[in-house]
């Protein structure tokens, strides 16, 4: 269970999250929508433990543990996984080597047997196939020379290899065509089960037709201003954030991007 209570966080002394509360029960998938700049990525970074995001008030626990007191790698061992909105490039670090290193670091920390190179490759190839990735992407440096869509798939590959218990997907659907979007959704749905929770940050309702959320929340001005069932996503897509954005009603769809009907 992810439990966020009255979370306040600031970047460079500037308050971004201003009292955010949210609970995700085991087995549930929640979606967060909201205008650009409302603090969605900030929330995901705070939960994953990125430096420079200062929590000034409130708490966040997962599986009964105080997330905010843990190092990023400890959170990963606990099962937290962040799919980055802008995946990081690592020139000089081979994708396969990176993946095996990460997987074995987690397995080691959990007292599980490490995978040798053969076992690893077999697993990676299986997972890549389901994500429509080519073997050649294992040989390249992490995300270097990858297209936007390839980077997002690579994040999903990491997720499906590392098997998190809490996945935070920060706009993983942006820039994906409909086929890639389905593959991403399949990767998430494959993990769904009683011991898996996810927080899906998105602008688009269309992802949520493939990953059907249990709850949808609207984040605006650093707080959750509205929550509802999956139908809320459709409503928002039709009407924009007018009425949910504090003070500044707007008729445009979220960030002005075209919206699939």
């Amino acid at each position: 269970m992810l439990k966020i209570e009255n979370l306040h966080a600031a970047v460079d002394g500037k308050p971004i999250l201003k009292g955010l509360s949210l609970e995700i029960a085991p087995g549930e998938v929640h979606a967060i929508m909201g205008p650009n700049g409302s603090g969605k990525s900030t929330l995901s970074y705070v939960l994953a433990g990125r430096e420079g995001y200062e929590v000034t008030e409130g708490s966040a626990t997962f599986a009964g543990q105080d997330l905010l007191a843990m190092e990023p790698e400890e959170r990963a061992v606990l099962g937290v996984f962040l799919a980055f909105q802008a995946p990081v490039e690592l020139p000089g670090v081979g994708n396969a080597n990176f993946l095996r290193t990460a997987l074995n670091a987690l397995r080691r920390a959990k007292g599980e047997a490490e995978l040798d190179a053969m076992q690893f490759l077999k697993l990676a190839r299986t997972r890549m196939k389901t994500l429509g990735m080519t073997d050649e992407m294992l040989k390249r440096s992490v995300n270097v020379g990858f297209s936007g869509g390839e980077k997002k798939r690579n994040e999903m590959l990491q997720m499906s290899m590392l098997q998190p218990r809490l996945a935070l997907l920060d706009e993983t659907d942006s820039g994906l065509d409909i086929d890639a979007l389905k593959l991403v959704a399949d990767a998430v749905n494959a993990l769904r089960g009683p011991d898996f929770s996810a927080l899906v940050i998105t602008h688009y309702q269309r992802l949520l037709t493939h990953i059907v959320p249990d709850r949808v929340h609207v984040l605006a001005g650093g707080v959750i201003v509205r929550s509802g069932g999956p139908e809320l996503a459709q409503e928002l897509e039709a009407s924009g954030y007018a009425g949910v954005q504090d003070g500044t009603p707007s008729k445009r769809s979220f960030d002005g991007s075209p919206v699939a009907a």
């Binding site: 990023p72 990963a76 995946p87 990081v88 000089g92 081979g94 396969a96 990176f98 074995n104 190179a117």
Partner: protein
Amino acid sequence: MTAVASTGAAAFLGRHEGLRNRLPGARVAWVEALRERGASAFRAQGFPTRRVEAFKYTDLAGVAGQVFGEPLTSVDDAPALPDATHPRAVFVDGRFRPDLSTLGELPFAVRSLAEALPNLEGRIGALARPEDAALVALNTMLFEDGLVVDVPAGVDGGTIELLSLAAESERAPAFHPRHLVRLGEGATLTLIETAEGPLNARYLHNPVFEIEVAEGARLSHGRVQQEGREAFFLSTVRARVAARATYDNFTLNAGARLSRNEIHVALTGPEAQAHMNGAQLAGDGQHLDTTTSLDHAAPNCASRQTYKTVLSGRSRGVFQGKIHVHQVAQKTDGYQMNQALLLSEEAEMDSKPQLEIYADDVKCSHGATVGALDADQLFFLRSRGIPEPQARAILVGAFLTEAVEAVAEEDVRAALSRALDAMRARQGLAAGLEEA
């Protein structure tokens, strides 16, 4: 003759004075004359101070202030040897040790300089002139031995190793080997040089290399400087590369308390090439300096340099790189990149690229960066469950990779990767990445 406990240039000059009748070639007139040239040049220059432009960032006062022991080393020490992968010449305290060497049958001549000396007139000091550099002058007046390699025209010499060891001792020896390498027209050779010694022994290793690569020949020279942490390593390489010939140098500069790694290459015939890459890894208390100069003295030549420095603890790195393009050297293609990664607040890097271009139709570029580890990359790795020290090591490895991957010769690349991993482990930056 008992050694007086004096220091600095005077001590070395006194040593030359005292040993002149016992050094190799003592009764050979031209050798005596050459040593005399060395002595008078060293007398005139002394140890360069920081007022000398080329030594602005590297202070030799620490070397000058040391008392070094008897230079004529005993020959009975038999230190433990690392495994050899190729035919290998072993030197202990600057002396060739045939008993420890495993050269076998080679298709070319490999000799001890001390033995071959009478036949080397005109060859020693031809490229590395004592008048041009104080450390070469010091070497010239006191060299005792060295490796002489001659690969005849057209011969593929394969790979050989040159291992220089310092013996475990209290003597704080100073040794000044002089190595000569000559490749005939179209010959090829891979030379892997390793300099190492006991972790906590104090000694001075001051090797000078004179390297001639004739037309169309190719020398790949991999160097691993992993001397002990109290050692002083002052090394000079001077290479002359003829038309269509290639000289590849990769230097891993990682050991020693103070290391000055000078590499001077002259491209003297059309279409000659030089690839000079290197990595420096300095831990707490180390000062590592790589100083290169490239003389483009003929048209249509190309040079490539990539140097990477990683500094941790209270350490200092220096890179000075000069590219001199002579007026005749039209269509020169020169590239130099030097990058430093600072892993601690107390580490310091000085870099000084220098282009002097006297031809008008050339392509020359250089760049330098100094920075810390990328916070986003570090967070990304940690967010995937990789502990921070390992994540840092992975990023350090990635930073160094570019320079190592620029090494064309596989034997050299493999040896360097191994050495690099070992040196990183010594500095708490053990290779973080598992192979898949």
